[in-house]
C-alpha cells in the first residue's frame, strides 16, 4: 500500500488497558511501515464527550468549529487519507466520547457540505480507507444478532460521508472476558501488522 496519512482515533478511558495498548501498537505498526500518523487520543486530550449547546448553535453557521482541540482534529481530517478507530464496544455501539468525535469533528465544512437545498455532498474524498478495531464483551454470534451498531456507524454512516470508493476494514476481538494473555497478544500483533497493510 502507498504511504498513507493516517488519523488514529483512540477512545478507551484507561491508558493502561488492553484497548489502549492495541491503539499504541496500531500507531507503532503504521509508522514502522512508513505511514504518517496523527493520533487523536480522546482521553489524553480530554476531548468533551458531548456536543455542546454552543456547538449545536454554530453547526449550520459560518464557523461550526469553535473548540481548539476540535480545530486541530478537523485540520488532521483535512490531511488524512485513512481513518483508524480503536475503541471498546459498549452496548453494541461506540463509547459516548467516540460518538462525540463524530458529532463535533465531522461537521459541515469538514466532513461534508450542505448545498442551498440542504443536500449533502462529501468533503472527505481524500479518505480512501476506514478501519475499525474493537473489543467486545459479547461473543461473535450475540453481536451479530444484536446488529453491531458501532460497526454500522463507522462502516456505513461515516462511510457514506466519505464517498463510495472508500474501502472499509474491520478487526474484532470478541468474548473479551474469556480470552487469555496469548489470545490477546495474538490479536494485538495481528492488528499492528495488518492495519492498512
Amino acid at each position: 500500500m502507498n504511504r498513507q496519512n493516517v488519523v488514529v482515533v483512540a477512545a478507551h478511558p484507561n491508558p493502561t488497558s488492553y484497548n489502549a495498548a492495541v491503539a499504541r501498537a496500531v500507531v507503532d505498526g503504521l509508522r514502522q511501515r512508513g505511514h504518517e500518523v496523527r493520533l487523536h487520543d480522546l482521553t489524553a486530550d480530554d476531548f468533551a464527550a458531548y456536543m455542546s449547546r454552543e456547538e449545536r448553535h454554530a453547526y449550520h453557521g459560518e464557523m461550526p468549529v469553535i473548540d481548539p482541540v476540535v480545530r486541530r482534529y478537523a485540520d488532521d481530517i483535512d490531511w488524512a487519507t485513512a481513518l483508524v478507530f480503536v475503541y471498546p464496544t459498549w452496548w453494541m455501539n461506540l463509547p459516548a466520547v467516540l460518538k462525540a468525535w463524530l458529532e463535533r469533528v465531522m461537521v459541515p465544512g469538514v466532513a461534508f457540505t450542505f448545498d442551498a437545498k440542504g443536500k449533502v455532498t462529501s468533503n472527505l474524498t481524500k479518505v480512501g480507507h476506514i478501519v475499525g478495531v474493537t473489543t467486545y464483551g459479547a461473543k461473535r454470534g450475540t453481536v451479530f444478532f444484536a446488529s453491531d451498531g458501532g460497526r454500522r456507524t463507522l462502516m456505513r454512516a461515516l462511510r457514506l460521508s466519505c464517498g463510495m470508493r472508500t474501502r472499509t476494514h474491520w478487526f474484532a476481538l470478541y468474548d473479551m472476558d474469556h480470552t487469555n494473555d496469548e489470545r490477546r497478544k495474538q490479536f494485538l500483533d495481528h492488528v499492528s501488522k495488518r492495519v492498512l497493510e
Binding site: 458531548y50 449547546r53 452496548w91
Partner: protein, 193 residues
C-alpha cells in the same frame, strides 16, 4: 403508572423540546411523572477510568448517577426523546446509557457471557426520535439507534417489555403540516400510556 421521560437535546427552543412538552401535556394525569433533562442538568456522559474500575470491583456507584438509577428502578414506562445524529442517539444520551446501566443493579452477566436484565419494573419503552435524513438513508445506514433501543437496551427490562419506535425523518426539509402531523402522532402515543 410511573413514567420516566429521558430527554437529550442541547437547547430548549428545539423541536425535540416541543415534543417533550407535548408528551408531558398528553400523559394521563393519573400517572406519576419524572423528567431527566440530560443537558439541562449538565449530565456528564464520559465513562471514566474510575467509573470503569468501580464497575469491575463492585464499588459504590458514582454519586452523580444515583438519581438516574433510582428513576430507572422506579419507572414502569420510559419515554426517550432525542435527535438522531450519525444514525444513533447523541453522545450525551449514549454516555448516560454507558454510565448508568450499572452491573449488578441494572443487569447481571451470566457465566455464558449473556446479559440478563434486572429492571423488571419497566414494562414498556417508547423512543421518539427526529432524523435529518430520510427513512431510506437511515435504513441504508443500518438504523443503529432503533436497534440499540429495541434489541440491546430493551433486554435490560421486564421480559415482556416492548420498545416502540416513533420516528420523524427528513426533519430539515419537512413542511409545517408534516411536523404538526408528527406532533399529533406523538401526543396520541403519550395519551395511550
Amino acid at each position: 403508572m410511573n413514567v420516566l421521560v429521558v430527554y437529550a437535546h442541547p437547547y430548549d427552543a428545539s423541536f425535540n423540546a416541543h415534543l417533550r412538552d407535548r408528551v408531558l401535556a398528553s400523559l394521563n394525569p393519573a400517572h406519576e411523572v419524572r423528567v431527566l433533562d440530560l443537558y439541562g442538568q449538565d449530565f456528564n456522559p464520559r465513562l471514566s477510568q474510575t467509573d470503569l474500575a468501580a464497575m469491575l470491583d463492585g464499588s459504590a456507584t458514582p454519586s452523580d448517577i444515583v438519581a438516574s438509577l433510582e428513576a430507572l428502578q422506579w419507572a414502569n414506562t420510559i419515554v426517550f426523546v432525542y435527535p438522531t445524529w450519525w444514525s444513533g442517539p447523541p453522545a450525551m444520551l449514549k454516555g448516560w446509557l454507558d454510565r448508568v446501566m450499572w452491573p449488578g443493579i441494572v443487569y447481571d452477566v451470566e457465566s455464558s457471557g449473556r446479559v440478563r436484565g434486572k429492571l423488571h419494573n419497566v414494562t414498556s419503552v417508547i423512543v421518539i426520535s427526529t432524523h435529518g435524513s430520510s427513512k431510506l438513508v437511515n435504513v441504508l445506514e443500518g438504523e443503529t439507534g432503533r436497534l440499540l433501543f429495541r434489541r440491546v437496551i430493551n433486554a435490560l427490562f421486564a421480559k415482556r417489555c416492548r420498545t416502540k419506535w416513533v420516528a420523524f425523518y427528513t426533519i430539515d426539509r419537512a413542511s409545517a403540516e408534516k411536523r404538526a402531523a408528527f406532533v399529533k402522532r406523538v401526543e396520541q402515543v403519550a395519551q395511550r400510556i
